[in-house]
């Protein structure tokens, strides 16, 4: 799409949307939000960029390819489960720090799992969107 308004707006919107996606990610677990929604927000930021410019440029501005994001996300998610196993509890048992931080809450494996989901969702969504957009 060739629209100056959209292009200019997108350049300001992209970082804002990414920041917001991280906020949604961190806020999740006990409040509405979480890795899945956060991942969708982040993916939509790049999707918007792909609409305003094109897929090739979007791939260039992304630090990691969507496929790699998917793989790394899945690895992080499974690692969060393995930490519980290493601590001698059943697989996926939550291991947390006792201190409470603002917005984030307690640091621990549930957050790691959510980050894994976040990356996986971005990766999968963008793989699909890019594949569809490049087909035209």
């Amino acid at each position: 799409m060739d629209s100056l308004v959209l292009r200019t707006a997108t350049r300001y919107l992209l970082p804002l949307m990414l920041l917001f996606s991280i906020f949604v990610l961190l806020r999740g677990h006990n409040a509405p939000g979480g890795g899945f929604v956060g991942g969708l927000v982040a993916a939509s930021a790049y999707a918007l960029y792909a609409i305003a410019y094109d897929v090739q440029r979007t791939r260039q501005i992304m630090p990691v390819s969507p496929r790699r994001l998917t793989g790394v996300g899945l690895l992080l998610a499974v690692t969060s489960g393995l930490i519980g196993l290493a601590a001698g509890d059943p697989f996926m048992t939550a291991q947390r720090d006792t201190r409470e931080l603002p917005v984030v809450g307690k640091l621990g494996t549930p957050l790691l799992f959510d980050i894994g989901v976040y990356l996986t969702v971005i990766g999968v969504t963008l793989t699909i969107i890019f594949a569809l957009a490049e087909e035209e």
């Binding site: 690895l75 499974v78 519980g84 059943p90």
Partner: protein
């Protein structure tokens, strides 16, 4: 040791993820594939050893106690099935190296293969109805892509039928799980068994639920009259995938049927299991009759899958300890024999260039080894002693005679003869008759293909002989597994803790 319960799921997962990360490196993916599949088989054997030594193993994922959290549980039956998954996974992983083309490989074939294995292992290990649904979906989504991967026209046609019917079945599954939860208030299988047997739930309603699950799993297991999707789709993907699907996917459906109809829905055996008996008979007969008309090897063998499912169901329907042992033994036998036949038909295709019986011929003269390789699992499937199928069928027939259900015994024996006839037909057409003048002479295999294709096929064929000759220990194992299924109190106690029963 609860680690062994998680590993059969974790290892294929990690294999799939590393294969995904190595997307552009095909050679590395092939290595990861073989390493992952070997490791999977090894931990599956470890699980089997541990369960047969120490009894039923349970782990509560995330340390949430049953019945609220997700339980992974392995009794002997589950452990045997996971071992078969590992065996088939390894066999197909090696066979794929020589048959799957570079294009499919570079589009994530190995990642999908191991995702499928993860789904199948998960379905065998879970002790929760909703979680079972999730594993079914993991397995199905991987199988959808494997079936369509490559995008040949007939493949897409087959995949369309396969996906459509499976989506219908999944929707029904989810609905049934929802209704089950609203009626009983739990989805943990052991807890379900306890609540249904406590008599507080209207037995009529329970029967309705049982029928919903029968249709759901019946579609996945390809029971009469819900089997039509199987021969319409199984012959379309590459032969390694067909072999894996034939070995594992319908068997997951049968596993689920056995699980729910021994653990949960045993309130009205006179009705439910009599119905299962009728379906078992009809499945056997229609499957084998469908095969008679087929002239394409893969389609012919696909119809035989259905027929063999009938035998598996027969043991469940007879519902004695011996009969259940028969089902388990038969399961082990049929997974190996059937997949071996598919692998051999792939070899025939590679050597002689076709799957069509009319176009083939004379392979006995040119490839005697290949002919033997076909002959062994084919005779095992027909139930000729001393191969694996003989003992499997003998156990089922004995169980049938014991409770004087002569009708199903007669049907099963008649179907055996028809199976033999069917196998003889392939034998006569592919190996015995003279080769038509017009067709090309057989092509020799390259050294690498020889290893990658022959080793899995020989290995499976040798296993059918081994199981046949050394049937005793496997039958003992099946008897122990059947005892656990027939009296689920140990299972319930293991999941819910002492004093639950």
């Amino acid at each position: 040791m609860n680690l062994l319960l998680v590993l059969p799921i974790l290892i294929p997962f990690l294999t799939a993820v590393t294969a995904l990360l190595a997307w552009h490196n095909r050679l590395l993916q092939r290595r990861i594939n073989v390493a992952g599949a070997s490791l999977h088989f090894a931990v599956a054997l470890g699980l089997l050893a541990s369960v047969s030594r120490d009894g039923i193993q349970v782990t509560q994922i995330g340390n949430w106690p049953a019945p609220f959290g997700i339980t992974l549980v392995a009794d002997l039956f589950s452990a045997i099935m996971v071992t078969m998954t590992g065996l088939m996974g390894l066999t197909v992983a090696v066979y794929s190296l020589g048959t799957i083309d570079a294009r499919r490989e570079s589009f994530g074939y190995y990642a999908l293969l191991h995702t499928l294995l993860m789904g199948v292992s998960g379905a065998f290990l879970t002790g929760d109805m909703f979680n079972l649904y999730v594993w079914f979906e993991v397995m199905l989504i991987a199988s959808f892509v494997l079936m369509a991967l490559g995008g040949a026209k007939e493949q897409l046609e087959g995949a369309l039928k396969y996906v459509t019917i499976n989506l219908v079945s999944s929707a029904l599954f989810l609905t049934s799980v929802g209704v089950l939860y609203s009626v009983t208030g739990t989805l943990n299988m052991a807890d379900l068994a306890r609540r249904v047997s406590s008599g507080t739930i209207d037995p009529g309603l329970t029967t309705v639920l049982a029928m919903m699950f029968l249709v759901t799993f019946g579609i996945k297991a390809a029971l009469f009259p819900l089997f039509f999707w199987l021969p319409a789709s199984y012959h379309t993907p590459p032969i390694a995938i067909t072999a894996l699907f034939s070995g594992l996917l319908t068997k997951v459906g049968v596993y689920a049927l056995v699980r729910v109809f021994t653990l949960i829905f045993v309130h009205d055996v006179a009705f439910t299991h009599s119905l299962l008996m009728v379906i078992a008979g009809l499945t056997m007969v229609t499957g084998v009759l469908g095969a008679v008309a087929q002239m394409e090897m893969r389609r012919l063998l696909s119809f035989h899958i259905i027929s063999q499912i009938g035998y598996l169901l027969m043991g469940l329907a007879l519902f004695t300890e011996l009969a259940l042992a028969g089902t388990i033994f038969f399961m082990v036998h049929v997974i190996i024999a059937k997949s071996a036949l598919f692998l051999v038909s792939g070899l025939v295709r590679r050597v002689a260039g076709s799957y069509h019986l009319k176009e083939l011929g004379g392979l006995y003269r040119s490839n005697t080894g290949l002919a033997t390789l076909f002959f062994v699992p084919a005779m095992a499937l027909a139930g000729i002693p001393p191969l694996s199928g003989f003992w499997a069928k003998l156990t089922l027939v004995r169980a049938g005679l014991e409770i004087e259900d002569y009708a199903i015994v007669a049907v099963s024996l008649a179907v055996s003869i028809l199976t033999l006839f069917s196998m003889t037909k392939i034998w006569a057409e592919v190996f015995w008759k003279d080769r038509s003048e017009s067709s090309d002479p057989p092509k020799p295999l390259s050294p690498f293909q020889r290893h990658s294709l022959l080793i899995p096929a020989v290995w499976l064929a040798a296993l059918t002989v081994l199981i046949g000759v050394g049937a005793e220990p496997i039958l003992d194992l099946a008897m122990d597994a059947a005892a656990q299924l027939h009296d689920p109190s140990a299972y319930i106690r293991a999941v819910l803790g002492g004093g639950a029963v």
